[in-house]
């Protein structure tokens, strides 16, 4: 199969990480690091010039932080996918990154293979959250009718519970409906959001502000 090469730009203010990431990705034939940047400002220029498929973005950068850079990148280049790679995994960073339009969030300590998989996934247009992050994020639905996708009230309810990391059977129990109905709702949600998995559904819902990360009243 003649897979097109995924062109990657690495944004990190530490040379060690830029080189390490390049070393990992360049070992795969379908991945190519075409450029890197050590600050947000440089990143904007580099992306503008190279038009990569995927940008690996650190959060803590000198000057403009990675989340702000992501906001500008996804606004100016909707076709460029940003994958956050950070040494920190605080919920607030994940939430900020997703709301800024990032397609995924990965820890800097994640294994190389996971990084490669994540780059491929976001390049395909799907979203990635490091395992364990989704369940920890506590989300709530926005007012119906706000988002681009026209979800019904019941679908929104299902989506909210999905975001909380509940399985279909648990969702069914909570909403007092059958598992089969939940499955049907999920299919509708995926179709309306144009995604293929529950993680993607949640990430997409956040990025189009259908869901916001809640202030966490438990």
């Amino acid at each position: 199969m003649d897979t097109p090469v995924i062109r990657v730009v690495v944004v990190d203010d530490h040379a060690l990480h830029r080189d390490g990431t390049r070393q990992i990705l360049d070992a795969y034939a379908d991945l190519q690091v075409v450029g890197d940047a050590s600050s947000g400002e440089v990143a904007l220029a580099v992306v503008n010039q190279l038009r990569p498929d995927v940008v690996l973005m650190d959060i803590r950068l000198p000057g403009m932080n990675g989340i702000e850079v992501t906001r500008r990148l996804t606004r100016d280049h909707p076709d460029v996918r940003v994958l956050m790679v950070s040494a920190y995994d605080e919920d607030e960073y994940v939430r900020g990154a997703l709301e800024a339009g990032a397609a995924g969030y990965l820890s800097k300590t994640a294994p190389g293979k996971e990084l490669v998989q994540a780059v491929r996934s976001v390049a395909r247009g799907t979203s990635v959250l490091q395992s364990g992050l989704t369940a920890r994020l506590l989300l709530s639905s926005r007012q119906p009718g706000h988002g681009a996708a026209d979800l019904s009230e019941r679908e929104l309810a299902v989506l909210t519970l999905l975001a909380e990391g509940l399985h279909n059977r648990e969702i069914a129990a909570q909403l007092s409906i059958s598992t089969r109905t939940v499955d049907r709702h999920c299919d509708n949600i995926y179709a309306k959001l144009g995604v293929g998995s529950r993680t993607e559904a949640v990430v997409r819902a956040i990025s189009i502000r259908l869901l916001t990360v809640d202030d966490g009243q438990r």
Partner: protein
């Protein structure tokens, strides 16, 4: 020897007379007393020698009582001048001189004798009554003079206090017109202060000062606190005394202390920021790189299979050190605060406290969320951190609320329904809570805000920091 024999009885008599005089407390040292006695002697001489012995008779008849009447003159004179003792002494002397008259001069009928005795009794009676009266009046006069002297001493002492008092002291009448000003007050307000209205001099009417509502009174480049009280003067008139206690030095010291505390706070926070940044820049980055590289190495087919698990284990170890360092960095200064702002940092803080202590906390953010200045965001975060830590440690609350409102000012309010802060907790340096509150106040004051700590009804505590939004820097918040 002979002279001694003669001298001895004479001395004894003199001694007895002196004893008697001593008992009578006669004013023997006063020459006028002797003049009076000579007067008495003259009258007696006139009566006994001239009238009785020489039978010198004037061309008119002299009644016997005239002699007694004449004797009243020296006796009353003695009473007026020497009091009861002088008067009685004189009367006794007169009595003694008159005795030979009726003992040796003939022609004394019983009727005459009784008249004579009556006369002498009157003489002695007058001596006692007038003498006593004069003496009691004299003592009263002495007492009055003493009291006057005492009051003069007191007055001059008060004067001295009033004038030498370092604090300016003013006395005004009920209408607020200055009637007196001590040296310090004259120096402060000018020599024409007496006679002018107090409110014209210091800008505050006397009634307001009496009500104790003035806690800070700037006059002539210095700061005072007026200590006013009403003086009731005997005539029903009411005066007000105002002591101006100088607070200038105290305020200056307080400002210096505050500046020092602010400096310390700034230094500590700068240190924490630098330390957190250094830990992030070097150790964390290098270690995360190591984790990834060790993981990569463990997967390398060229690695002998028995070494792979060891490499993997060391990678995990490095990963754990990264986690520990992240916790340290977060404790020093949460990176979220600098990267995403106060709202995100508060959300994180609330989530942490909630999961660590199981406390029920609601976070409500309202108004137009914007990024604030670094100092402002740090202050909001630290105040919330301290307040929540107090809630967790002391309050035993079931419900806690954190409200952050962005308006003209940024208002952070933390309320709980716990047991409240004991009144002493606010100032007691012994308890951590007290120091925490002082620290919060210092932080808020440092950026020109205000901190309010009060009971929250029906029970619990309210902590509210109000800071001026002022310098809004950077981008909108990360959302």
């Amino acid at each position: 020897m002979a002279s001694a024999d003669i001298a001895t009885p004479t001395g004894a008599i003199t001694g007895r007379v002196q004893d008697a005089a001593g008992r009578l407390r006669l004013p023997l040292t006063v020459w006028r007393f002797w003049v009076v006695q000579v007067g008495v002697l003259l009258v007696a001489f006139l009566d006994e020698i001239v009238l009785d012995l020489l039978h010198f008779l004037p061309p008119f008849d002299i009644p016997r009582s005239t002699v007694t009447a004449l004797l009243l003159i020296p006796v009353i004179y003695a009473a007026l001048n020497f009091g009861v003792h002088g008067a009685v002494g004189t009367a006794l002397w007169a009595t003694a001189l008159m005795c030979p008259d009726w003992l040796f001069i003939g022609g004394l009928t019983p009727a005459n004798a009784w008249v004579e005795i009556g006369n002498l009794a009157i003489l002695n009676g007058v001596a006692i009554i007038v003498g006593q009266r004069v003496e009691s009046e004299g003592q009263a006069r002495l007492r009055a003079e003493g009291a006057l002297r005492d009051s003069e001493v007191a007055e001059s002492r008060y004067r001295a206090l009033f004038d030498e008092q370092h604090a300016p002291v003013l006395v005004t009448d009920a209408a607020g017109v200055v009637t007196e000003a001590n040296t310090a007050a004259t120096y402060l307000l000018g020599p024409d202060a007496p006679g002018r209205l107090l409110s014209d001099l210091v800008g505050t009417p006397v009634a307001v000062m009496l009500a104790g509502e003035v806690t800070r009174l700037p006059v002539g480049g210095r700061v005072f606190v007026p200590n006013a009280r009403t003086l009731d003067v005997g005539s029903g008139e009411r005066l007000v005394q105002i002591v101006l206690v100088d607070l200038t030095e105290e305020e200056h010291r307080a400002r210096e202390q505050q500046a020092y505390a602010a400096h310390l706070l700034t230094v500590v926070e700068d240190e924490r920021r630098t330390l957190a940044q250094d830990l992030h820049d070097d150790p964390v980055q290098t270690l995360t790189y190591l984790v990834r590289m060790l993981e990569l190495l463990s997967d390398d087919p060229r690695l002998p299979p028995d070494l792979a698990p060891l490499v993997l284990r060391d990678g995990k170890l490095a990963s754990e050190v990264v986690d520990a360092l992240r916790t340290v960095i977060h404790g020093l200064r949460p990176p979220v605060l600098d990267d995403l702002g106060a709202v995100a940092a508060l959300r994180q803080l609330v989530a942490e406290v909630r999961s660590r202590h199981g406390t029920v906390i609601q976070l409500q953010v309202s108004g137009d969320q914007v990024r604030l200045s670094d100092q402002c965001e740090l202050t909001v975060y630290r105040v919330a951190q301290e307040a929540l830590s107090n809630v967790v440690r002391h309050a035993r609350a079931t419900q806690t609320r954190v409200d952050l409102h962005f308006g003209e000012q940024v208002v952070l309010t933390i309320t709980d329904d716990g047991c409240g802060i004991p009144a002493s907790g606010v100032v007691s340096a012994g308890s951590g809570g007290g120091l925490g509150l002082i620290g919060m106040r210092e932080r808020v004051n440092l950026i020109g805000g205000s901190l309010e700590v009060r009971p929250h009804r029906p029970h619990g505590t309210l902590v509210r920091a109000t800071v001026v939004r002022g310098s809004v820097e950077g981008s909108p918040p990360g959302r």
